[in-house]
Every structure is written in C-alpha cells, then in structure tokens.
C-alpha cells in the first residue's frame, strides 16, 4: 500500500484551491455554481468510467504507487480523486482564461 498517487492528486487539487482562493476564480467567487458544475462533471465522468469498465475497456492494475483501495470493481479510490481534479482543473482554466480576456478588454 502506497499513497504516492493519492498524495500527488491531493496536492495538485490543493494547488487549484490556492489559485481559486487567490484569484477568486470558481468556488471562492460562486460556490453554488462551482459545486453544481463539479458534481455534474463527476457524475458524467464516473458514468463514462463505469461504462468503460463494464465493457472491459478499463482495467485496474496493482501499482506500487497506489493505495490498492477499490471503491468498485476496477474503480480505485484514486480515480475518484483524479476525476474531481480533472473537473476542478477545467473550471479553474476556464475561469482563469475568462478573467484574463476581461482584463485585456478593459485596458
């Protein structure tokens, strides 16, 4: 059991939270909108993963870097963190890009 992968995902997500807090991009600007978007994104990607797993596309491997904890067959704990990170990162990128576009437009 190793927590390297999980810790990397948590640290990366933590960095997104810091960016979000510093620049008031997503959750720290519109918490309800952000939570709804995050939840919808998570449901979307978990469903996609589940379809892939049921069709034998995605297969879990026991890695020396991963916890080995499975939340469902072929669906490790880290995948939930990864999908959360991917969704949150996408929101931060969108909100950050829009902030820059708005700032340039007013110069």
């Amino acid at each position: 059991m190793a927590l390297i992968y999980l810790a990397s995902l948590a640290a990366s997500t933590g960095c997104m939270v810091l960016l979000d807090y510093r620049y008031r991009l997503a959750f720290f600007r519109a918490p309800v909108r952000t939570l709804v978007a995050l939840l919808a994104g998570l449901v979307f990607f978990i469903t996609w993963d589940a379809v892939g797993i049921s069709l034998g596309v995605f297969r879990h491997l026991d890695s020396v870097w991963a916890s080995g904890i499975l939340l469902a067959p072929e669906f490790p704990l880290e995948e939930l963190f990864f999908l959360t990170f991917l969704t949150y990162l996408t929101l931060i990128l969108l909100a950050g890009a829009q902030r820059l576009i708005d700032a340039r437009g007013r110069r």
């Binding site: 992968y5 620049y23 008031r24 600007r29 519109a30 918490p31 309800v32 909108r33 709804v36 978007a37 919808a40 994104g41 979307f44 990607f45 469903t47 996609w48 379809v51 892939g52 069709l55 034998g56 596309v57 995605f58 297969r59 879990h60 491997l61 890695s63 020396v64 870097w65 991963a66 490790p76 880290e78 991917l86 969704t87 990162l89 996408t90 929101l91 990128l93 969108l94 909100a95 890009a97 829009q98 902030r99 576009i101 708005d102 700032a103 437009g105 007013r106």
Partner: protein, 132 residues
Amino acid sequence: MTYLLMSLPFLGVSLVVFFIGLVRAARVRGKARRYLVSYAVTTAALLGLTAVFDNVMMAAGFFDYGREQISGARFILMPLEDFFYPIAAAFLLAGLWQFLQPSRSGHDPERKDSAHAATHRFLSDQGEPEHD
C-alpha cells in the same frame, strides 16, 4: 473500437452542452468570443497536460486497457482514445459554467465586500456578476 464507440455518446452530450452554452453566451455582445477563446485555451492546456501525465500514469502502472477494446493507436504509452476525456471535459464544463451563470441584473454581491474589493479591485472587479 469499443473505447471509441462507447465514448461517442459522452462526446455527443458534452458537445450539446457546449452549444447550449455558446447560444447563451451569444446573447450578450462580445461574450461569444470570450466563451470560445476561453474554451480553446482550456482545451489546449488540458491536451498538453494529458499528453504528459497520462503517459506518466501509464508508466506508473495504475491501469491498463482491454487489448481488443482499444484501437491500438498510441501516443507514447497512452491510447489515443484517452484524449477524449480532456476534450469532453472542456466542452462540458465550458457549457455548464456558462449555463449556470446568473443572467445579468446589475446586482453583484461581490461589490459589497468592500475590504476585499479594495485589495483585489483589479482582479475581482472583472467579469460577470455572481449571485451565490
């Protein structure tokens, strides 16, 4: 081909959400361009990060794919189909983020936060009004 085929409905849904967001954005002058440019920037960043870190994850041995279920085309270690995830993420979230935005009414609760606005006026004063 299973990976490709089973991804099509998800790509389709994300595209529909993206176009709903675009129609919403286009109601305000100048917002459609902002919507499309921020989407393009986000997609480029996500594709770049995926190209690097999906290969790192493959090398770390976190997961594998059914040999019969993927096309076999790969970028270094990752199957090309894995790029569908970041592509769909940008479509879906761009649309949702726009769609969930409250319509402009001139009321911006952020402006009441004067202490904060004083230090962050340049950054926090930009953009759309919020209602959460």
